[in-house]
Symmetry: C4
Subunit: 330 residues, 4 copies
């Protein structure tokens, strides 16, 4: 099938192709547009700046929205060439994906700005949603989300324990401080707010205990806070670690397959390199693993048994359809 | 033995049976009741809301307590069918377990509410204890408790070191600031409170040092605080890690047993899957471990020695009563 | 050599002997005395309590000091029986050890109290030093100190980086805020204090930036603070982990030695148990390691080669002077 | 080539040679000069001290700058002997390296002090840059930088997620609090500052939410802050861990090479020791690894097959050009 302009557009917008300089440039422009737009929205909210650089902010807003609109248009137009939306109503189905809806929300504010006279302050905030478009580019987030998903059980238990602790400390501080400071610990919600701010070790200082028992409670909750921070850190550290070890082990398999009974030719080296990159193994680690395989090989694979009667070698063959090294002779 | 209504009730309330939709539903209702009740208690403590939605809060309280009471009644009634309480006085023995006492405390407040006119504020807090009923559902907590128990020695040492550090910094800040701020650092207890709030990096700001030496001390304690947070995080991370590795290794044994000299049949696959779920091994890890076992197998189990005299293979048998693979022939 | 009363005293005070109930009791009393004394000193500093319970605090002080004095006396008296202080001047040499000096300092305050009329406030703090006597009992601290010592290089680098960061942020905030708040950022020392309190995420709020650039700096330093906490946590976690793995591996060696070619007799089981306790290996881990050794054994040690010509087994012997299993026959 | 005075100077200044006492002394003096100078600059900024000890501060400044100037001069003079700057313009090329520029900046302030009358306050800060000279001595930083570089992808993703979270929470708190506190949440920049200070758990307390929704947001952001701290800690812990494991494995290879079929002679022991130090392996770990290699050896290398026909041993040889142990005989 010959690539049409539409299919080429679809491919270009779908993701970055690091081989093509044009693709990299397009995505660089799109990413910069988002950042420039969000930064401009933030500074536009400062009244002094908004008054002074009114035209600049307006220009940035219009240009960015134009780029977003063109991008959105091209994405909708080229949707039929996306294999995920093949068949009927492909454009409508694309337009209803969360990503496409975010793209649409990102360009709507300007129309409200043109055609209505309602207060724009709230809409300014909506424009910050454009940052969500960035999730399209994040590849490292995948690893983090995977780890989160794998450890969901432990995270859930930790969150439940945290919730219980917060509710109990709220109840306790309410009993301790309600009499002394009825305006600050007036109800359990206030007490809960204080518990969270203390347990998270933020400690604004707008609400502080004054009774001895309240201070004792604050001390206990603060020290618990230290332990609480440790829980997700411990879970994440061990989960990342397990993932890293899994990848290392995966690379070891691939490398063992490639190396078993073979010389380290250029082709083998190339294959190993591609596995290494795919699994995110560092150069030193890869070197170390290959050394390791060779050492094991030396002990098991390269050993040659010789019969003392006839001094002839006992051939050692690995009967495996996938990896058949030539029989070794002494 | 035919299951009676009582034994079925006991089984239903004992724990969630994920296969039965009715069991899941019952436990979902019971869990929601606890959460709704606790949330309602918290909001009921806000005077403005309590006055306005008096009837709603009262209705929630009555319905929830009714559900708790029915649950408690059924649990006591069906206690004789619980194998843990077989024999005489099974109901009484059940009623004296911590769980049953919590359940009882959870339904008591409403009677006080009906029959007495004492101030209810304190009782409101007692109702928060119902959250403790949740520990019944937490399975992930087990892992965390196990890890804590295993590392008790190191946690103990860290806590002792922390206590010493707190007492010494309290003494030092007392000497430094007592003269300058006799109202804020009036005694060692005040100084200890400040030490905890600073070391835990909460830092309310209600008590701050003003003398140069006091500020120096605050700096040292703050920086120590950074290190202190690291200690439990480090212990937990390595403990979780060790547990994860142990489970991986456990799975490896089970898988080796299952796979040794066998084809990967549906039955073997099913057994492996059940081991995997039980030990909480992820799909990728399981795949990686099985690959690993096969690689080792290939090096050790599948190797065929050929005799140089007749060029016929030397059979390799694994003499093991548990796993007898068919003798391999070339 | 017959144990004299003096040598028995020395042995008793030297360390806890968990087999002897008397030894455990003595050390329990000594430990409680320290804790009671320190707690009493802290509460004695609260004026209201000191006035009211004057006699109680005085009694506790006198009794505790008496116990400390008797302990110190017995330790000095029995020092010649301590193998570390054999030879001449053994008592004097013992008295000059840090531990003995701490013990001496712990009993001195009471004499000052009796014989002088100087202000006792400062001396009260000195009494807190008695907590240092506790280091005698801490065995878990050893592991932590070992890990710290092993990772000294990385901790040193992290500390140096932290110091640089603090100095630079102090310089930057001084430039940013000195004009606006000359009273709060009057010199680099003030700026350094603020930097530490911010970077350690304590954030008292007594000194806060007011200029836009100052606020920007505060944001950057705060976010850096998040990363800074992560560094010691990461180092500690990996160091603890390495130590745990080392111990696991150590246990594996010991177990392999014990198990190689032997049946799991009661004597072997007892030896394994003692290794397990010494290295702090949990029951599950020990089980898992032993399973592992057996699996490897099965693959390597139990395999029997049979010659196809004569169907006789090829004997497999492990030529090792330490572990000579009986030759295996089919 | 005979070492000239210039080449010796270059070598001396290039790095510490722990064998030569003179080299250690020189670098100790240079390092102390930096620390003394920075500490003096900090204390000099305290007006009371600056007035009183004017002469001392001036003397320290002049002496330190003199030492810096001499060091800079010698470095420039000996640059042609540095292999990195061989060829033409070696001195100029050296002078343009970042390190040399820092050295130059470190000595410039004094000339401004002598020849100009501009306000010196700002220049005082510049002198703090001398601390950068320290990066020359930091060897432990290398490990940390390597780990950072290896995990750049995950750190990048975490930073992007953090930035998104900050922008969204800024937008949300702006909507919640702008009406109630227009002076504190006047624009998105103020809201962003608050978000950072809260998420980093610094919590100064200069800007706090007052509306119920604002307090709810603050609670959510604070609790998120706990998780955020965990992310870099987890990444760092697992990265350090992977590096440690890699080094252990590297040491294992080296040790296997050295030990295979050899007696543990003094020469082998010396080589192992040097590998151990280079890779930062602790004594206990090294011991454990060597034990491990011997155990494996015993199972694989020392096994002797005996032929059933003649009952004579089948020799086992490891055919390896690098490590040829003597053939083993029974």
């Amino acid at each position: 099938m010959k690539p049409t302009l539409r299919s080429k557009t679809q491919k270009l917008l779908h993701g970055v192709d690091r081989e093509s300089r044009f693709s990299v440039l397009v995505h660089l422009v799109l990413a910069s547009t988002i950042i420039i737009n969000v930064v401009s929205v933030i500074f536009d909210s400062v009244e002094a700046l908004a008054d002074r650089y009114y035209l600049i902010f307006a220009a940035i807003e219009i240009i960015c929205t134009l780029i977003f609109a063109v991008e959105y248009g091209l994405r909708v137009w080229s949707a039929p060439d996306d294999p995920r939306f093949e068949g009927r109503f492909s454009r409508l189905r694309y337009m209803l994906t969360p990503m496409a809806l975010i793209d649409l929300i990102a360009i709507l504010p300007i129309f409200l700005w043109f055609f209505t006279s309602i207060d724009l302050r709230f809409i300014r905030i909506i424009r910050l949603l454009r940052l969500l478009k960035f999730t399209r580019y994040s590849t490292g987030l995948e690893l983090m989300l995977m780890v989160f998903r794998q450890q969901l059980g432990v995270f859930g238990a930790a969150s439940a324990a945290l919730a219980c602790m917060l509710v109990f400390s709220a109840g306790a501080i309410y009993i301790a401080e309600h009499e002394a400071q009825p305006d600050k610990f007036g109800n359990l919600l206030d007490a809960l707010y204080w518990s969270v701010i203390t347990l998270a070790t933020v400690g604004y200082g707008d609400v502080v205990p004054v009774t001895p028992f309240g201070k004792f409670l604050a001390s206990v909750i603060s020290l618990t806070g230290i332990g609480i921070v440790a829980v997700p850190a411990g879970i994440l550290a061990s989960a990342f670690n397990a993932e890293l070890r899994r990848r290392e082990s995966e690379y070891r398999h691939q490398a063992t397959r490639q190396l078993l009974g073979k010389r380290l030719t250029e082709r083998v080296r190339h294959k190993l390199r591609s596995h290494q990159e795919e699994l995110g193994i560092s150069e030193e680690q890869a070197q170390s693993i290959i050394e390791d395989i060779r050492d094991v090989h030396r002990n098991a694979g390269d050993e040659v048994l010789t019969c003392p009667h006839c001094n002839q070698p006992l051939h050692l063959e690995l009967r495996d359809t996938e990896t058949t090294p030539p029989p070794q002779k002494s």
